[in-house]
Symmetry: C2
Subunit: 343 residues, 2 copies
Amino acid sequence: MRDSHGAERARPATLKDVASLAGVSIATVSKALNGREHVRAETRARVQAAAEKLSFQPNVLAKGLLAGRTGTVGLLASDLDGRFSIPVMMGAEDAFGAGSTSVFLCDARGDSIREQHHLRALLSRRIDGLIVVGDTTNPRETLGRDMPVPVVYAYAPSTDPEDISVVSDNVGAGRIAADHMLDCGRSRIAYISGDVSYHAARDRVEGATAALAARGLNLVGGEALYGAWTEGWGRGAVRTLLSRNPDLDGILCGSDQIARGALDALREAGRDVPGDIAVMGHDNWEQIAAQSRPPLSTIDMRLEEVGRLAAELLFTAIDGDYRVGTHSVATRLVTRGSTALAG
Amino acid sequence: MRDSHGAERARPATLKDVASLAGVSIATVSKALNGREHVRAETRARVQAAAEKLSFQPNVLAKGLLAGRTGTVGLLASDLDGRFSIPVMMGAEDAFGAGSTSVFLCDARGDSIREQHHLRALLSRRIDGLIVVGDTTNPRETLGRDMPVPVVYAYAPSTDPEDISVVSDNVGAGRIAADHMLDCGRSRIAYISGDVSYHAARDRVEGATAALAARGLNLVGGEALYGAWTEGWGRGAVRTLLSRNPDLDGILCGSDQIARGALDALREAGRDVPGDIAVMGHDNWEQIAAQSRPPLSTIDMRLEEVGRLAAELLFTAIDGDYRVGTHSVATRLVTRGSTALAG
DNA sequence: CTGAAAGCGCTTACAG
DNA sequence: CTGAAAGCGCTTACAG
């Protein structure tokens, strides 16, 4: 049986094969199959039948050689093991969608040698453009202005303001989360954030602080608690908060993992969520948010929309229209059981 | 500044450009750059300098047109939002590695229309071979025997035994987990499994049962408890077990999420892990295993090794050597705090 | 050692 | 309406 896979594998059909089967020239086949005019209907039908019979698939490489475009864009990610670049890629794929553009995905795993390697591989395959997805929300080094194809930076913006970047609106996310707490009738609200070195952490806090200020309120304790993006930090921070501010009635968290830890610590301290204290996360990480007790209200960054917008901006750039600057995608509130109107 | 990105973008240099700068023919440039013999050292140096100066990158598409090989393989995944296909891809990338092969990743998201679309896109780009990564460990429908390029199925084997498949050894994983429990001095061991419709669930239980039988033991309760791949199920199952078999001293779980739920329920029931009861997961999902209390001992499926082996088998298949059948990758024990010698 | 020519699979003016 | 020819960027015998 081995040979059924090997020796018999047919060389893919070419225009020439179709032409000789249909009894016409390869030029005519090309025109017929590409819907060009000036081909008799009967001829076109005959060509199509021949192509069908031979399972003819045009060689996109040969096409690209002529057209100068390959219908392929690269997506250079740094955190595939993380969960951010995947939705971005899906959004980009959707935007290129039914069209004839394909996405060529590589992961540099935070290694700049590997990044260079992939970049070279992509460019030598003559991609039409490139989307670079960062591994955090912090700005990343630009690839420079002398790239042979347009580049769009997604999730992490480029350090060069003359590049095209697409990010999630973290300030807005903080505002939306805080407003939701206020809408639930909470007023003594604390913020447990992640690693202070992340722009995103500070931006979310900034948005929340502004939303509270708009109603004349401050964060409980005066400012956010910064720590790590882990459940362990969420648990520890809650214990600190409960001893210092036993009367708090809402906790905003910088990530779903932090919120998950917070929920566990609150339950173990005998506090009721959401009756006593409401809790919000950030990320809408399904596996975490849906499995916590109670299920977690959170902010969805709409990463697929980030990818979709990046793809659109890349497309217009390929067509020569460079919309440089940082484009921001609005986030979305997702309510589950951990927030509710105060009794 | 917009124009600095647009109008000035240089057409990539071609052999012709290098040839005229170096003052030789394009044939000579090709030979010089590809290390062919019969080129004078001085000429080669001059060509290399010219290529360097123009940042010449050979057009891989044009090369592929000649060679019949493109140096690109496709990887068709179904669960990118999941966490299984990414490590498989990384392993495959490593295997193709420093060489000149690139991986073209697409995600069908469990949609067969999309799968066909991607398949067509990949084939029209003349990939040299294809790796298909399933979304579960259950066998998946073969793509058939008349594919124009070799195909290797990874994680989920193909339904056709004459295809080439690479899977994780689930029976062995169950055995390793149970043996570890036994090595920790446990003898009253229960098994909380996931969805019974998954082959992997049953295979892991089978391996564990066999390992216990080898020492004359049975699972507590006589058989495994099947449910869902969730924390919620892990919690519920533990409560059931504790009421029926209060003296159990070890719990094997079908996944890290189930184990995470089990740990939470045990702690809330006042049982000490690992002193009183040892717990094992499966998957080595870092985010879950490292954050649970205590950190979770578990089984690593070595998915990167699955990807690496799939890539190697694909390579040998491209060279005409079809090693059909299902190849199995051994799993690995990872010990953290949730297992220890019984006091 | 170097270069002219043919050809990979396709498209596109240009003749007929 | 149809086809012969040139050309996209490259490599590979084959002459010189």
